[in-house]
């Protein structure tokens, strides 16, 4: 290993990036842009669901019932309609996500001790959101029923409403959420996206850096000189590692400052693990650069091999445990799963070496395998 030659390559690469405005912007802006777009764009909190009501009863009780929806922070009341004809177009244009219809004689039937059906129309295009909306509606109705029952019993037995309420629903759920007390999905998404961005951008830059030389022919300077394969790969990589190391810090800062996510773990552990992860993902980019010849192909292939595991097999969207067995096994073949555990562990759970050593070890192993494959397949005397 000759350090002069490693340095020659790294220094040349660095100056080229500094002068190439497009590449420079891409190196530092791309991670931030992807991060912010996805961070703001994806929220799994279902709040302020727009809705409209059709009150065909118009009595004190129906208004009381409706107000339980109107006053909820989960719903956004858009207004009343006078006929169910008007609901369809509103739903179709996504002006509202659900509608509630109170039938005539709602109060009369309830007071007479009969049941009354309330209809709700929910936009089912996005099933997850529809399910959550249905859950809210059911909860509000259950609560309404319990209170009606309590009022009824209270009046009959001559006890206070509070006491009657305890009688009606004797088991009560007390749940406390750990690590993310307010259940803000943005906390977990923003920290989880660090995993995604660092899966996508380092291989992107590394692949472009190598393929660029292949495409314009300057790789022949390398082939024709006495620089060894490892010196060249190391020199190339050092530059992109430096950029990615800076990007880790930028992303970290954004997660804390922009999304207000707490960082509870060990910063040194997290940074070290992130650098290992970046070495790993950049290695994937290097592999890409070995099989493609043009920069366009490099971009396409990198996006596919990095976005897919980061989205689907990391546990960011779907918990690994709830996956069918085949994708579950696949998930363990990608580094994203291990690094996501490290990120969430560090940010939200305050974990460190003791708890996450296995995941770090998995990343190290992964990086070694990728780099060995890349090294063995990089030739200074290719067949074409």
């Amino acid at each position: 290993m000759n350090l002069t030659r490693v340095w020659a390559v790294a220094y040349k690469e660095w100056r080229e990036i500094l002068r190439d405005r497009l590449f420079f912007t891409m190196a530092f802006m791309l991670p931030t842009v992807i991060f912010l777009l996805l961070g703001y764009g994806i929220s799994f909190d279902v709040e302020k669901i727009p809705f409209a009501a059709l009150d065909q009863d118009r009595t004190a009780m129906s208004r009381d019932f409706l107000h339980r929806f109107i006053d909820s922070r989960y719903f956004d009341y858009k207004g009343d309609v006078s006929s169910d004809r008007y609901l369809d177009p509103l739903l179709a244009h996504s002006d509202i996500r659900f509608a509630i219809i109170i039938p005539p004689r709602f109060q009369e039937r309830l007071l007479a001790g009969q049941s009354a059906s309330v209809q709700s129309l929910i936009d089912g295009v996005f099933p997850y959101r529809a399910e959550v909306a249905k859950g809210y509606v059911s909860a509000i109705i259950a609560n309404f029923n319990a209170q009606s029952l309590a009022r009824h019993f209270g009046a009959q037995l001559g006890i206070s409403r509070e006491q009657a309420l305890i009688q009606v629903s004797p088991v009560r759920l007390e749940s406390r959420y750990l690590y993310n007390q307010a259940l803000r999905s943005q906390w977990s998404m923003s920290s989880g996206l660090v995993m995604l961005v660092l899966m996508v951008t380092p291989p992107f830059l590394t692949a472009l850096g190598v393929v660029r030389e292949k495409e314009n022919g300057s790789i022949y300077n390398i082939y024709a000189s006495s620089i060894t394969r490892s010196e060249f790969l190391l020199g190339k990589f050092l530059t992109y590692l430096l950029i990615s190391c800076l990007n880790i810090l930028i992303l970290w800062w954004l997660v804390i400052k922009i999304f207000g996510t707490p960082f509870k773990g060990d910063p040194i552990f997290f940074y070290a693990a992130s650098v290992i992860y970046v070495i790993c993902t950049a290695g994937a980019g290097l592999l890409v650069s070995l099989v493609v010849r043009t920069q366009v192909a490099a971009v396409m292939l990198t996006l596919v091999i990095s976005f897919v595991p980061a989205w689907l097999f990391s546990g960011l969207l779907v918990p690994i445990q709830s996956m069918p067995s085949a994708p579950k096994i696949e998930s363990h073949l990608f580094p994203t799963l291990y690094y996501l555990r490290i990120t969430w562990g560090s940010f939200l759970k305050g974990l460190g070496w003791a708890e996450l050593w296995f995941d770090v070890a998995a990343l190290i192993l992964y990086a070694i395998i990728l780099w060995v494959i890349a090294f063995l397949n990089f030739h200074k005397r290719p067949a074409e």
């Binding site: 000759n2 002069t4 030659r5 340095w7 020659a8 390559v9 220094y11 040349k12 100056r15 080229e16 002068r19 190439d20 314009n216 022919g217 300057s218 022949y220 300077n221 390398i222 082939y223 024709a224 000189s225 006495s226 620089i227 060894t228 030739h379 200074k380 005397r381 290719p382 067949a383 074409e384």
Partner: protein
Amino acid sequence: MGETTLVSGQAVIKISGLCKSYKKKLAVDTVALTVKRGEIYGLIGPDGAGKSSLMKTIAGVMSFEQGSLEVFDVNVDSEAAAEKIKGRLGFMPQGLGLNLYGDLSVEENIDFFAQLRQVSPQQLAERKEKLLTMTWLDKFRDRPMKNLSGGMKQKLGLICTLIHEPELVILDEPTTGVDPISRRNFWAILAELLREHGITALISTAYMDEAARFHRLSLMFNGQILTSGEPDVICQQAQGYLVQLTAEPQLEALKLLKVRYPQIETIGSRIRVFVNNISPDEALKAVSGQLIGVEIKNIQVFDTYLEDAFINLLRKDPLADQSIKEAIIPCFDNPLPDNQGIAIEAKQLTRDFGKFRSVDHINFSVRQGEIFGLLGANGAGKTTAIKMLTGILPPSSGEGTVAGADMRFAGQLIKERIGYMSQAFSLYHDLTVMENIRLYASIYGINRKIIKQRLAWVMQIAGLAGVSGQLAGSLPMGIRQRLALGCALVHQPVVLFLDEPTSGVDPVGRRHFWDILVHLARVEHVAILVTTHYMSEAERCDHLALMHAGRVIADDSPANMIQALQNEAGQMLKITTDSPSEALSCLEQANIKGSGLYGRHIQLLALDTETVENQIRVLLEKHSIKLISLEARPPTLEDVFVYRVLELENRDQA
């Protein structure tokens, strides 16, 4: 370079039975070659002949399948073996500055190569200074590589390849796309550096006229070496003579001669025929005998040039011969009358890019039926001028007219009468030949009724029969350029603009291309404006304008330009000695001006040839340098080009 002492018997490169293929295509086909220490060895051949593949395998940057390759007595049969030779070798791949780094400055590029090659800082400083001064790049050391001209890029590439003082350099087409002056300059520098350090060089080129600069060379075609040897010896292999004549009417004479002599070309008003296997007198007789009913005005016999020898050798190869076969060229649907009107005119045409004046008040005019050549170094403003005349770029001042219409305001009607083939003419590489033509036909809105007929016409005029189903990307350069021409002709334009249409194309391909141009001009009376770096092509134009730094510095017919130089500066003396470089320094000390090393010869222009000749004889005798031959010849067009531009540059510097 000519120092025989340097060319020792020791072989630096030894190749036998070498084969290299890409998937199914054989690129190098059982090649055998030996390059000796100190030798400048040339590989000449058309695009796709296998030169680059061969050079890459020799440089150890590409593997091969069969045969043996020894470089510096190392048997290069594996990647590990190839590593052993790389420290002693310099390789410059094909493409203008493509292996350099555009965003880095001249100096940073050199520093990178030096670090890569582990040149010590003191040595680097010393060599860099010397090489930069020698190549006149010292003023541009901070300029980013991408902002250099083509010639400068190549010189920088040479510095970067030589910075570690390799024992062997492999240069792949270092002069393609470079103008004649930069080329001469490049060769002079290269020759001096090689001589100084006794470096062995393997160099490929598509320019036949550079062949004289090699000690030995190989002609390559279709992956094989057709012949190898010293340039003079290869010329003699053609075993024939060139007969040059002017006859009236020219077209009739051409027709008569073509029947018997396939190797024929027109140069302005002259016709040049290659005649096989007979003595000069017999050649004269045979050609005259063929021209019955035609008035012969002037007829002369010359020795063959390498280009003719090359084409002649190719003719013996049945595979190559197909590509040169003459075809009957069909006519335009609506032939133009032979009216000799002015087709293209530039009046005080000027274009500024910011503070930089690219084209500076140029004037010229092209008649209908005339082939007009625009010559000039890279960056002289040729492409900008063409862009203004075709209406692509608005002029800063002055006007460019085509068929009398000002191109600034020209409507669609005028534009439909223009054909334009740009420097980087983009064919769709993934479409077949026929699909490309059809696409251009529909872009130009050719009537559906005649489209079939027109496609057939294009295929025929561009000589594309037999390749209609092939992908454009898979064609050799020569045929691809004809396809590009065919696409530019699909609407049968009456004015044709061609910007370096034959750069990098082999002599056979270029001749075929020019035969089509001559036909278009003579028979269809199309006005053609063409730019080129090939002097053999410039000779074939009816009229030339020489551009330098945005201005037209000479505007005349090729013959008149040569005559003017002869009147002004005299004849070209070609001096052959046993040690050319010593002889050159003798002449320089004796203050005999304008002498330059050209291959193994020294050349200089002299008005009073007899006096200068005597002077040289005395001088060489005094330094006991053996004079092998001394002959005077009229200057060539390249001499005109170089003389005129240098004259201006010297004046500018003074």
